[in-house]
Symmetry: C2
Subunit: 402 residues, 2 copies
Amino acid sequence: MFDFDSFYHDDIKTATGHWKGFPEYNFIGGHNDASMVPVDALRASADRVMTEHGQRLATYNLGDGPLGLRSLREFIGGALAVRADMPTDPDNILLVSGSLQALDLVNETLLRSGDIVIMEESTYGGVISRFQHLDVDIIGIRVGAAGMDLAHLEEQLEALKAQGKRARYIYTIPTIHNPTGTIMPTENRQRLLALASRYNVPIFEDDCYADLIFDEARPPTIRSLDDSGRVIYCGSFSKTVAPALRVGYLIADWPFLSRATSYKTDAGSGALEQLILADFCPKSFDTHVEKLNKHLQTKCDVICEALDKNFGTTAQYHRPKGGIFIWVTLDKSIDILKLTDEAAKQGVAINAGPEWSLGAEAAYQMRLCFGYPEEAEIKQGVAKLAEICQHHFGLPKQISNK
Amino acid sequence: MFDFDSFYHDDIKTATGHWKGFPEYNFIGGHNDASMVPVDALRASADRVMTEHGQRLATYNLGDGPLGLRSLREFIGGALAVRADMPTDPDNILLVSGSLQALDLVNETLLRSGDIVIMEESTYGGVISRFQHLDVDIIGIRVGAAGMDLAHLEEQLEALKAQGKRARYIYTIPTIHNPTGTIMPTENRQRLLALASRYNVPIFEDDCYADLIFDEARPPTIRSLDDSGRVIYCGSFSKTVAPALRVGYLIADWPFLSRATSYKTDAGSGALEQLILADFCPKSFDTHVEKLNKHLQTKCDVICEALDKNFGTTAQYHRPKGGIFIWVTLDKSIDILKLTDEAAKQGVAINAGPEWSLGAEAAYQMRLCFGYPEEAEIKQGVAKLAEICQHHFGLPKQISNK
């Protein structure tokens, strides 16, 4: 047999394993609730757009150029005006294959090996792994109930300046922060902008979960509070309409967007999905998201109750303000990597803290996603996790109603 | 205004320009004939899959794991058995967002700056620009009526060996070579494999256009003639069903495929498009492709006639054996870069030779795509191009029926 091994470089990634299907209790991944996919409305949209625009599929990018379907960009610009106080010119919106492609394009445009980036020390695991793959130096900023700790940020910016160094950008998830589920208040957004201005750093605002707020009003985006063009912004339909529809958007003033667009060399993102969303969203996005949020809030209540009941004081958390995940700090004595392994063996999949955080506490933290499992599965899965934890670490001492 | 310029590295790409719409006569890009999109069948498939599988869109990758929708992989495996003598295990097929992503994954897996790759000296422009972006050394092999010139390949492999160097892979488009439209005969495929074996090099077989053969029988794939696992293979539905559907496939034995899959960090390719193709293809792929090929062959005849009539002996070409493009060698005195510029100003878009070839002749060669423009547009566009050429270079001397 031909041996590829000698053709790989030293930095080759670990091979992907054979797919074994989902675990029984699946608390990982950004999957959503199957019952919440707006199937009927999407089917009706698919039917309409195939009738009206089917022949346009013969043309890369549907003939609307590299930014993608214009009517969808117009919807996004209008929706952001209403929902996030950010009216946006469709010519400053690039449609991408999910927000992950937005991240990749920004990184390809700005980052090279050895560069410095700043981020919340707990953040989306896909961002951490990307930064590591790109061999950039990461500065992690503490996260509290109001999101990024701006005093810590200022300290770090000052320290960089003193060393004659600078960060290429500050990455932040200000609204439904992943994994902590917090929202950065408007005054903090203004202070963050002031710091970015004083130290001359761009900001990359990842607003993927911003439509999934349970109770509070959505604050204005950081980008909307800035008039200098410093803020790059991304959002996604994966979290609201359906994860397997790969449509997100990158927003920036044209000087930057025109650079990032030149790194999008994939001949366009999926056109049918763009067409369907452009038909579905003006009619149904708002009512759909409202319904989805109520459903997710119920599930959030279920997982909080399950954690309280099964883990008691062994598990601490801030109730998420929206989204599909909860960030849990266990007792210091619990080795989360071992717990993650043992739980996986028994069909309970969780994200170990270190995947989602560079902080010292990550060693006993975990992220649990509650969007995908059904309510009964949430209850059973958390109970099972508590049992496994008790078996290996002696905590929680008591599991109520057991 | 915030100035991003000081945040870019020296290798920053040129910015993308504002979209100005398609030119009047569009002979570039892999677009297809709008009338040939199987709209009704795709709409019926969309309706069925939304009904049967809509809820699965809540799950990244539809729950079928990182390789993508299993039923579509099964279709591909079966179709390749029938159409290209290459039965393929669905577990050796990775669904990707168009064959361009397949190229990127193979490159990320195998290539680093300074590596050597071998390719036909005329080849797909997107491959040349990728290799250049990756800063790899390209060895171009001459292309004749039978595709890659294997004597020249052997010479180059021997020269590398003598220098103690080796290529990371040989990239080839053996069936409907882009841009020359040739097909590598089966005996040459066997000889290519023997050379790759003797010099211990992997082969990357890009078979994107292989379904679009006009008259001849499709030869077995190079991969089907190999039993060592040396050959990586890719194909696409963009050229057959619709370009704006971004679904392609990367095929390799698991040791390599599992490595390449780990570089696919986009949370899956578009799921709805996979579902629709998995429904459409078993019913309609063969009949659709047969109809499409007849239509493309007619257009090919039209462009050949238009070239003969308007350019006479100033334009030389081999009639393409399939596909959507023709590779034209003009008189040596014609500066193709200047002609391309002047034609663009007058609404005629063509690919200048140097975009598609490293060969010395590229300076007076061009690629014309005939899939997208209608027959009347082909005739008018080629006539206009001849006029522009005559105006600037004095050739063709006479344009018949003018």
